[in-house]
Structure formats: structure tokens, C-alpha cells
Symmetry: C2
Subunit: 153 residues, 2 copies
């Protein structure tokens, strides 16, 4: 896949629809068994008895699904150089089997990196909504991207 987006192309204020993904009960249980084996992520009855009121996806699965959409619909076209981290990650509503999740990406801020003349830093917000329009996930964090024109050093 050819790189078409460099740091210079990722401008504050730009909003991208990063597509949608759904999750079913088997995927919820499979992820939970590996990474978050709490009863309400593994079993319908335990979910019903929990604060979720039903089997619910691990918040880490929701975040990972958002990452996959970000790679497929944005990062694979960019000169992505990884991320130093997130400023916040909010699990706002449970994700249930059959939910259809849509991801929106907004660029908040952009600046060159002094330590790396060939790289720029971009601060973004990710918002994931379910089929009812409820926001289930919100994250803000950083990405590093290669520059089309490195700074003079």
C-alpha cells in the first residue's frame, strides 16, 4: 500500500469516518478468555447479574477494534511511526453482542518533533458510537508520522 498521507497532510480540525465493525457473543468471549477473563465478559448469565445487565465486551476489545479500524482506514495510508500514548481513554457505555460500532477520528493538534526532524506529532480524538447513536468509547492521544519534508537540522 503506497503512502499517501504524511504529517503535513494531517491538519487540525479534520474529521474522518473510520468505518464500522460489529462484534458477536463468540468474539466477546474469545477475547475475554485471552485478555480479560472476568465473568461478565465470558458468560451471559454472569453478565445479566452484573452492572452491565448482559454479556458485555471487555473495554480493551472495544479499544482494539477501534485500533483496527484506524489502521485499515487511515494508518495504512500514512507514514505512521507509532504512538507514545494516550491522554485519556473513556469506556462510556457497555458494548453488547450484535452491536454495530462506528468510529470517528478528529485531529486536534499538530506539531513538529524537535528531537526528530523527520517526524511530526499529531494529537487526535477517537469517538466510537453504537447503532443507537450512544458514544461507547472516547480516546485522546498521540501519533507520530513521517514528514514529507524533514525540517532543516
Amino acid at each position: 500500500m503506497a503512502i499517501s498521507l504524511y504529517w503535513e497532510d494531517l491538519q487540525p480540525g479534520s474529521v474522518r469516518d473510520l468505518g464500522s465493525v460489529s462484534v458477536d457473543a463468540e468474539q466477546i468471549k474469545e477475547f475475554a478468555a485471552k485478555y480479560d477473563p472476568q465473568p461478565f465478559h465470558l458468560d451471559e448469565e454472569a453478565g445479566r447479574q452484573s452492572m452491565f445487565g448482559g454479556l458485555a465486551a471487555s473495554g480493551w476489545q472495544t479499544a482494539c477494534l477501534a485500533m483496527r479500524l484506524t489502521v485499515d482506514n487511515m494508518l495504512r495510508h500514512t507514514a505512521s511511526k507509532g504512538s507514545p500514548g494516550l491522554e485519556s481513554l473513556k469506556w462510556l457505555k457497555p458494548v453488547y453482542p450484535g452491536d454495530q460500532l462506528n468510529l470517528r477520528h478528529t485531529i486536534l493538534e499538530s506539531r513538529p518533533m524537535k528531537s526528530r526532524p523527520d517526524t511530526g506529532l499529531v494529537r487526535s480524538r477517537w469517538e466510537m458510537f453504537n447503532q443507537h447513536g450512544d458514544k461507547v468509547l472516547e480516546m485522546e492521544g498521540y501519533g507520530m508520522f513521517g514528514r514529507r519534508s524533514p525540517a532543516n537540522t
Copy 2:
């Protein structure tokens, strides 16, 4: 598994060793193929040519491994009621195949939840170190826990 730790037992200042986990090249590629298919997480040669200098785990995999250790060595003994989110998540160093990762958990703060008399909120820091003593991951965030003695409403 019987619940032995309620909100009242999770006191600020307490530090727990939540154990260790290792990750190999196959696990790195398998996770990346599902959730973070960027070349440097999928292929040794692409990793060598990247800022990581070698195949490196997705930061989301590192976070998920930390979650698994947290469930196995702490949450499964508690009245865990999920999490509203994280205040920060920092990917400080790359994680490479063969790395042995150790997780430390520190309770920073604790307070009752006004909206839920049977639940308390705990703010924690997670720090994950590799076999060289380098910190690879740091997170701060919240967990909700059932109270042994609900507040009078």
C-alpha cells in the same frame, strides 16, 4: 473463586506485584494481524527498518497483557465492577519477542461513589517493566469495586 477483596480493602499506597508474562514473535504477529496490522508489528524485516529496530508488539497487546495479569492476580479475588476509563496510557519502550514483562500495581486514591452506595472508586497506577528493568508501559485509571458495607442512603 471466592471474593476476598472489597473496596474497603483496597487502600491508597498499597503496592502489588501482579506477576509476569512473556511474549514471543508468533504471539506478536497473531495479535497484530487481528487488531493492529502495521508492518512493524507483523514482520521482522519491516520491524528492522522501523523506528523500533526490530519486530515489536502492538502497544495494545502490551496493555491487554497487563489487563490479563491484573485479572488473574487481583481482580478475580475482588468484587470488580468494571472501569469508567484511564487518565493516561504511556507506551514508553518497545516490547520485543522474548521479553519478560513484570507488572506492578499501586493504589493512588480511593473514594465512595455518591451515585452508587454499594460501590467505591479506586484510582490506580500500573507499571510494566521488561527483563532489563526498563519501564515499557504506564497507565493510570479507575476501577469500581463492590463495598463490603454499603453506605447508608
